[in-house]
């Protein structure tokens, strides 16, 4: 396979995944805040700032007033904004287009259909009452696209590279969402005893990653920070956990290369994966924010290593 095309497939996977996480984050945050238990979490300004931070690391001064419709437009449909859902999906499609001779017709067609849905979505409708319809549809359709990737492509290098892109982006977005909600929980904590540990933001966080009900099933209690992070970072059976993404990354890189040289991607991935596999939540308790930053850096390093080894 051409290195350029591999690069296209990798980024197609990344942008597809990114689109879905952004859509889901906006949806869950917006709607769960409507009846949030405390005033801060319920505040529109709080939610809008959280959305902007997650989507593009944009930090808004706490005194600045945001216009709801403008923010929603910016993160979803603004063609001028690099990070809008519209542009994320546009990049996914452009990358798919450059590699379309390797994709199944079904997959390319579904990408196209969703692209036209996003591109032609009425902006006024979106900012007034289409938020749920639009973001839910994207979440649903990207899940369908993943299905097409699994069901219609040959499970060879093409599949491996797309899957690498998806898993690294998934890990990146999950850790970013954790980071955002961690900051939200910090800033919304009150004088009430242990409000941080039991924050409502953990519920929102789990819902943002579509893991709320499964987490409750696993721990059989309301989410607190340690259980939430353990589930989302270290649990190998939670399909969206960081460890799970690292497992998939390791599995797929082996389709491309078995080289275990110290400067190879496989070496780096296996090393990182082992570290998370044998880590316990007690070890990181108390230093969550450093841990989150460290995880982001490690995932970035893996991505760079793959790009260097295979995609250029």
């Amino acid at each position: 396979m051409l290195a350029r095309v591999a690069n296209n497939l990798f980024w197609m996977g990344r942008y597809l995944e990114r689109t879905e996480h952004i859509a889901r984050f906006i949806n869950v945050n917006y709607f769960s805040s409507l009846d949030a238990p405390n005033e801060v979490s319920q505040s529109r300004q709080f939610v809008l700032k959280s959305i902007l931070y997650m989507v593009n690391d944009t930090v808004i001064d706490s005194d600045d007033e945001l216009n709801e419709q403008e923010v929603l437009f910016d993160v979803a449909l603004n063609p001028e904004n690099e990070f809008s859902i519209l542009n994320c999906f546009k990049y996914a499609r452009e990358n798919a287009s450059s590699a379309r001779d390797l994709l199944s017709m079904e997959l390319f067609r579904s990408i196209n259909e969703l692209y036209y849905y996003i591109k032609n979505y009425d902006v006024d409708l979106f900012v007034s009452k289409g938020l749920d319809e639009f973001t839910s549809k994207i979440t649903k359709e990207v899940a369908r696209l993943r299905g097409k990737i699994i069901e219609t492509l040959i499970h060879d290098e093409t599949y491996a590279i797309i899957t690498l892109g998806i898993n690294l982006e998934k890990a990146t977005q999950v850790i970013r969402i954790i980071n955002t909600k961690y900051i939200d929980a910090k800033s919304s904590q009150s004088e009430i005893y242990d409000s941080f540990n039991n924050s409502y933001e953990w519920t929102t966080l789990l819902k943002c990653i579509q893991s709320f009900d499964m987490m409750k099933r696993f721990y059989k209690k309301a989410p607190v920070i340690t259980d939430t992070l353990e589930f989302l970072v270290l649990n190998p059976s939670c399909p969206r956990s960081i460890l799970s993404s690292l497992d998939n990354t390791e599995k797929n890189i082996k389709i491309l290369s078995r080289s275990k040289e110290k400067d190879s991607s496989l070496f780096l991935i296996s090393k990182t994966r082992s570290e998370y596999k044998y880590m316990s939540i007690d070890e990181i308790e108390g230093s969550f924010s450093c841990f989150i930053e460290d995880t982001i850096n490690k995932i970035t390093a893996i991505s760079i290593s793959i790009e260097k080894e295979f995609l250029s």
């Binding site: 051409l2 290195a3 350029r4 450059s98 001779d101 390797l102 036209y116």
Partner: protein, 488 residues
Amino acid sequence: MSAHKKLPIFSSYDKNSTFYDEIFSEKQEVRNIYKTLFNLFSEYKIDDFQQLNEKAKTSFLNQGITFQVYNEKDVQEQVFPFDLFPRIISAKEWSHIETGALQRSKALNLFLTDLYSKKQIIKDGIVPLDMISSSENYLKEMNGLEVPGGIYNHISGTDLIKHSDGEYYVLEDNIRCPSGVSYVISNRDALKRNLFGAFKHYPAYTVDNYAENLLGIMESVKPTGVDNPTCVVITPGIYNSAYYEHSYLAKAMGIELVEGRDLFVENDFVYMKTIYGPKKVDVIYRRIDDEFIDPLQFNPKSVLGVPGLFQAYKKGNVCLVNAPGTGVADDKAIYTFMPKIIKYYLDEDPILNNVHTYHCSDPKEMDYVVNNIDKLVIKPVDESGGYGISIGSKLTKKEIEAVKKVIQAHPRKYIAQPIMSLSTHATYIDETEDFEPRHVDLRTFTLLGQDKEFVLKGGLTRVALKRGNLIVNSSQGGGSKDTWVLKK
């Protein structure tokens, strides 16, 4: 729903056309071959048909079967307009077209072989030297080069029209990078889905076998010493108007679709950059014009090509499909010599008619042309896509004078032909929500390889969607139709 939408289709079709209509005879009766189809269509109401039409259009868009249109703001993707009423070609008529197209392709190949070696046809005075030496498309770099398998025009697109006398005429040969074959295949696919009932009554040949034959042709011209050639398609990239076709062909052949930046040349061999390192490439179906294939040899500003590619080709280490320099044989001035070229190399009479052509470079013919512009079509010899054409009958006196001046200033650049009346075919028109007669032509696709030949049994019927328009190119508002070649 408005009342007129419930009308049966064809209720307002103008059957009294002055042109040859492929559906209705002069007596305004449906021609035999279309009778069954006409009855099937008559069961539809315009409304149902409108729905089918919309469905087909959306399906093309979603499949990404589109071409790019550039405007000031951005790049727009458009569906190549597709008409659901197919064109039918009888087995007898097709056999004539097929043998004729093959004959022309073979003659053109022999002509090119001669032009780039002994030039016997010029020495024998059949084609004037001036036609070649003044042609911008003659590549001196190809002189004396032995091309792999002895083939120059592996892929030929022959454009035909049906004149008012009911006969087919060749309008031009395209042997550089003829495009459109992917639409033949996608049109068929769309028609099968939407009008599956019709295929029971018409035994049409499949068009799905084009890609496998193209790959066979490519493999047949592999460089000497290569057992299993690595073949690729090279495209200018996703923003090229024919990108869909490039990706379709690569996919259908199961070979890589590369861009110039994916290839490099080392020690006169061509390699592609893969995830596992360089891989040697043996045969390249290039969808990049001669000028841009190698910045070291041709246009130095080209970023689409591969530096050193032509040197590798010259050494016989890679085969280019079609060969560089074929453009000298398909320009509109050479076209007029085609009957003589066929006779000279094959000792056969041309099977397909040529349209009579006046050369403005010949003073006598120039004289006739300038005095009869209103009856002629004036064409530049080296433009494609329907650009630069003047149709005499549509010009004002002032415009005629202007055209005169232009051709007198550059006689070699222009030829003139009688205004041929392209046949008309029933075409669904969105604005009027009804079928109307529209002019059509036909492009056939012929493949030549080493000891292999293939003519796709079907073709691209292009439709001029604007009423009265004679130019069918997609860049000028043309659409297309599925074309059925009947087995019997």
